[in-house]
């Protein structure tokens, strides 16, 4: 292949690297009104009154909008296909505020100074309510977070809103209790993952203006331009045809921009005033008033016979969706299905879950989308099981994992076409030097090095729901325009899709021009999330190009000759990964550093191996941050305690040792050129692999993230288990 499977530079690389003005805020009109939001200082309250008299006296103020000024139509901000599984539990501004940071008023003025001044002069009086901050106590709490009568769910998601239950459900295959009765070892533990912030470098931002026909144009840093159009129409109560959404270059998303965050505030201001308006979230707002990863507590029961055959797996997840239900009912599913499916030799599996509301910031989408949490839990439990069985943890996996050709009940009954997971494990084992290093080596009287491992899977798009179109057209001079609606957020999908088009059409990359998304011009696409773009949109591109080729063969080539195609996949073939960590632990302080992380990935055919590699390295490092220190916490009043890069530390380049990535590529027959996805699977293995290495170093199992030096040290001190014996070795 000439262009596919080549590490081609991104088509926008040099413009990004030389700092061209290509992002939302760079392109905003000069005369935009500055829009800011007054946010609730209380975790749970009802607004008695908002007095704007003093604030509106400030010179330069254009308008201040409150709950009195917004359409009374509930909606969800989750970027999902209609009908969304997330409940309709929001208004743009609500009289009830449900977390510290919930918007109470939208202020717009001609300068930032005027708006800042005005915000301080808005007087709000409240009836304070008793907040629900602990997810363990949310169910049937006397405070009901969503008592509103117009709360709405689109289907059966196991919702009982009066019990603060956003969603619940269960799945089982086989008879777990019967299988557990045949097990000779059973691990039964609870694993706890915290909320994390996606922390993309470009914060949320958007601007809006009326166009020549009086339609509303929203320009936004988003992963979901078409969902923004639909959701904004619902929220603003105007026809969808009256809205146009434009997506410029995006400075990272990781799921944070799979939810509407900033869009509706300037949009409402433009609607009310007829003027251009812009809102740029600062970093603190991006931490405290957007969406995070769902905090989950997952009980895992897993049992095996003496020979190490896993017979039964039971998982029960409690997920904290925060004040609103964005992505709540869906992320939780992945915590079970995308973990348990790995062990398809198990005779029986059961998965139950509950998603509860609390008065903390709404959770949402973050790379991995529940699979990350589930993988930490189940992979940690499998490592504990190997310990009880005195069996090499890699051997235990090779004995029990799914294989090509398997039909996997826990994976929605899908049949797996391509699974080189055993090869991934073998290659990683060699790369990290497992056989020499497992379980640990003492490198000084106080320092120890140890290795740990985990495996993971994800999906490639949402079957039958994700839908993408592509259009390719011959232009004068013999080049092609490729129109797509998928949203490149830095991942390079514009380039990857152009590679597929060039390969299909048998031309050079420079003959393909890719447009950015504009809902007026681009063909429909559900958006860039759920690891869908390469697999789903890619297939639409291939289909369109094949169609165009047929036309060219039949009619010859001439300008305006074009072809379009739409694709939706009935299956979601999982990519796989084996992750291996080597850590160094300082036994006197508990300080633990990742010396090396090896990831071996199967994403089917890597369309662009360079970009696939960087996706993997980036995902691994985010996973290391999650494992060791990233932690969203709240004080007793419900205020988030880490709301800046000063307090919420993401890994710097000094914090990661070597990261080495290899591919063990399979060929997925349902994907374009044999490709599956890569974007999400790569964040799943670091937490369990690092937890495993910590156990191998010190004999302690940490079942709650993050695993800080203090936790490690204090646990060691309390347990006094293997520590002294380790030191004697």
């Amino acid at each position: 292949m000439k262009t596919v499977n080549q590490g081609i530079e991104k088509i926008d690389a040099m413009s990004l690297l030389t700092g061209k003005a290509v992002y939302t805020d760079d392109l905003a009109l000069e005369n935009c009104l500055v829009v800011k939001v007054l946010r609730s200082p209380h975790a749970f309250a009802k607004i008695k009154d908002i007095d704007l008299t003093d604030a509106m006296k400030i010179e330069g103020m254009e308008c201040i909008l409150t709950y009195r000024d917004v359409p009374n139509k509930r909606f969800t901000m989750a970027g999902q296909s209609y009908p969304e599984p997330s409940p309709y539990d929001r208004l743009i501004l609500d009289r009830m505020v449900r977390y510290v940071g919930d918007p109470m008023a939208i202020a717009a003025g001609t300068s930032e100074k005027a708006v800042d001044k005005a915000l301080k002069l808005i007087h709000v009086s409240y009836d304070l309510l008793d907040p629900v901050l602990d997810p363990d106590k949310a169910l049937d709490h006397k405070s009901i977070i969503h008592p509103e009568a117009d709360y709405h769910v689109n289907g059966d998601i196991g919702n009982e809103v009066k019990r603060n239950l956003c969603a619940s459900g269960e799945f089982s295959a086989g008879d777990v209790e019967n299988e557990f009765s045949r097990c000779c070892v059973i691990v039964d533990r609870v694993y706890h993952t915290k909320a994390n912030n996606q922390a993309m470098m470009e914060t949320h931002r958007s601007f809006s203006y009326p166009d020549h026909a009086g339609r509303l144009v929203i320009c936004s840093s988003t992963q979901i331009p078409f969902h923004v159009r639909r959701i904004a129409a619902t929220a603003l109560d105007i026809p969808k045809s009256r809205i146009r959404v434009i997506k410029p270059k995006v400075g990272g998303g990781f799921g944070a921009k799979q939810t509407l965050v900033s869009e509706l505030f300037p949009a409402l201001v433009t609607m009310k005033t007829g003027k251009p308006a812009k809102m740029v979230f600062d970093r603190s707002e991006t931490f405290t008033a957007s969406t995070s990863r769902h905090e989950m507590k997952i009980r895992v029961r897993i049992g095996a016979d003496k020979a190490g055959h896993i017979l039964a797996i039971q998982m029960d997840t409690l997920s904290n969706t925060g004040a609103y239900g964005e992505h709540g009912p869906t992320t939780v599913g992945l915590s079970g299905h995308k973990a348990m499916s790995l062990y398809n030799r198990a005779k029986a599996v059961q998965f139950t879950y509950k998603v509860v509301y609390t008065n903390t910031m709404s959770a949402g989408a973050y790379r991995g989308y529940g699979a990350t949490q589930g993988t930490f839990a189940l992979e940690s439990a499998v490592n504990e099981l190997s310990d009880l069985l005195s069996m090499d943890p890699l051997q235990l996996r090779l004995k029990n994992i799914l294989k090509s050709g398997d039909t996997v009940a826990a994976y929605y009954g899908e049949t797996i076409n391509s699974c080189p997971l055993p090869a991934c494990i073998q290659k990683g084992r060699e790369m990290i030097g497992w056989d020499r290093k497992f379980p640990f080596r003492k490198i000084s009287p106080t320092r120890i090095r140890a290795v740990g491992a985990a495996i993971a899977m994800q999906g490639s798009g949402i079957p039958d729901i994700d839908r993408a179109s592509a259009r390719v057209e011959v232009q004068e001079g013999g080049f092609y325009t490729l129109m797509i609606g998928a949203a490149d957020m830095g991942t390079g999908c514009d380039t990857i899709l152009a590679q597929m088009a060039a390969e299909s059409l048998g031309c050079d990359m420079d003959k393909i021009v890719v447009s950015s998304v504009d809902t007026d011009a681009s063909p429909y696409d559900t958006g860039s999330y759920a690891s869908s773009t390469t697999y789903v949109t890619g297939m639409a591109v291939v289909k369109a190009c094949e169609e165009l080729k047929r036309k060219i063969e039949a009619k010859g080539i001439y300008p305006a000759l074009s072809a379009s195609a739409t694709h939706s996949s009935p299956v979601s073939p999982p990519p796989f990964m084996a992750g291996f960590s080597e850590i160094e632990m300082d036994l006197e302080t508990g300080e633990t550093k990742v010396v090396e992380f090896v990831g071996v990935v199967d994403c089917g055919t890597p369309i662009n191996p360079s970009l696939a590699r960087v996706q993997t390295e980036g995902g691994i490092v985010q996973g290391i941050g999650m494992a060791l220190y990233e932690d969203i916490s709240y004080n007793p009043k419900g205020k988030m305690t880490r709301d800046s890069f000063m307090q919420y530390k993401i890994p710097s380049r000094l914090d990661v040792g070597r990261v080495r990535v290899e591919f063990e590529s399979s060929y997925e027959p349902t994907g374009p050129f044999g490709a599956k996805s890569i974007g999400e699977v790569v964040i799943n293995t670091p937490s369990p692999a690092i937890a495993h290495a910590i156990h191998n170093a010190a004999g302690i199992y940490l079942r709650k993230l993050p695993m800080t030096a203090e936790t490690i040290f204090m646990t060691l001190k309390e347990q006094k288990t293997a520590w002294p014996s380790v030191l004697k070795n």
């Binding site: 300080e591 220190y629 880490r642 000063m646 530390k649 710097s652 000094l654």
Partner: protein
């Protein structure tokens, strides 16, 4: 920008909301609104110089200047580069000033921890020359920190710290020094401000044996107080103090 310290002080005294600008890093983050920012950039207070018996570091000297100063390296070893390298990044340290760091008296300050382990004085516009520890414990009267003066004597030093991530604040920082047979042990980010463990240091001889070191370590954890904040609990800090002080002493003895 002012033309003299007299002018700067006059402005400072005029209005409670006037403030001396250091590197601006912390002032910018605070919620307080200031009337007038007083800029000392034009007064030539951004240099490291030496006299016969001391080293003078002007208040507008940046942390980066100190970190790469051959003069400071010559007398105090890599104390400042070790102490400062974890402070955010080079660009930050090109702005952060010594005066701003010391005058703010932040508990987490690695700068204050390092200076505490040396024979350090500060010169204030009104109060004159006082020792660093006296300054740190003085009532916070409005004054201008003009420069830091460190006694020029060859000192063996070691800076030990533990951070959650490489550029985070210290969970605990310990600066240790040995000069003419006298030890100093300074511990900061406890999380309150750096302080000397004088009793422990007093137990140490110039070449302490293991038993003496052990006694000093026991003394350290009892003589200093530790607290809890977002970064760590008091109990952990206390245990950590023993380890970091031991490592500091050993690094110097080696």
């Amino acid at each position: 920008m002012v033309q003299s310290l007299d002018e700067a002080y006059e402005l400072l005294a005029q209005d409670r909301n006037n403030v001396i600008l250091g590197g601006l890093l912390w002032i910018k983050m605070g919620r307080k609104q200031y009337q007038t920012g007083i800029d000392l950039s034009g007064l030539g207070l951004n240099a490291i110089s030496e006299t016969e018996d001391s080293i003078h570091i002007g208040c507008m000297t940046t942390l980066r200047q100190m970190e790469i100063s051959p003069l400071l390296l010559q007398w105090f070893g890599p104390l400042f580069s070790d102490a400062f390298k974890g402070i955010v990044g080079v660009q930050f340290r090109n702005l952060a000033t010594l005066g701003g760091s010391v005058y703010s008296r932040f508990g987490f300050s690695d700068v204050i921890t390092a200076l505490t382990a040396l024979d350090t004085q500060v010169r204030l516009y009104r109060a004159g020359v006082v020792t660093l520890s006296k300054f740190l414990n003085m009532d916070q009267k409005r004054d201008i920190l003009e420069k830091v003066i460190i006694k020029k004597q060859v000192t063996q030093t070691s800076f030990q710290t533990l951070r959650k991530s490489a550029t985070d604040f210290s969970i605990l920082s310990v600066a240790t020094s040995l000069c003419k047979g006298n030890w100093k042990i300074a511990a900061g980010a406890r999380p309150s401000m750096a302080i000397l463990a004088e009793n422990a240091a007093g137990l140490l001889s110039p070449e302490p044996d293991e038993k003496t070191i052990k006694a000093a370590l026991d003394r350290v954890v009892n003589e200093l107080s530790f607290g809890t904040d977002q970064r760590a609990g008091a109990g952990y800090r206390k245990l950590l103090a023993g380890v970091l002080v031991k490592r500091g002493i050993e690094a110097i003895c080696r």
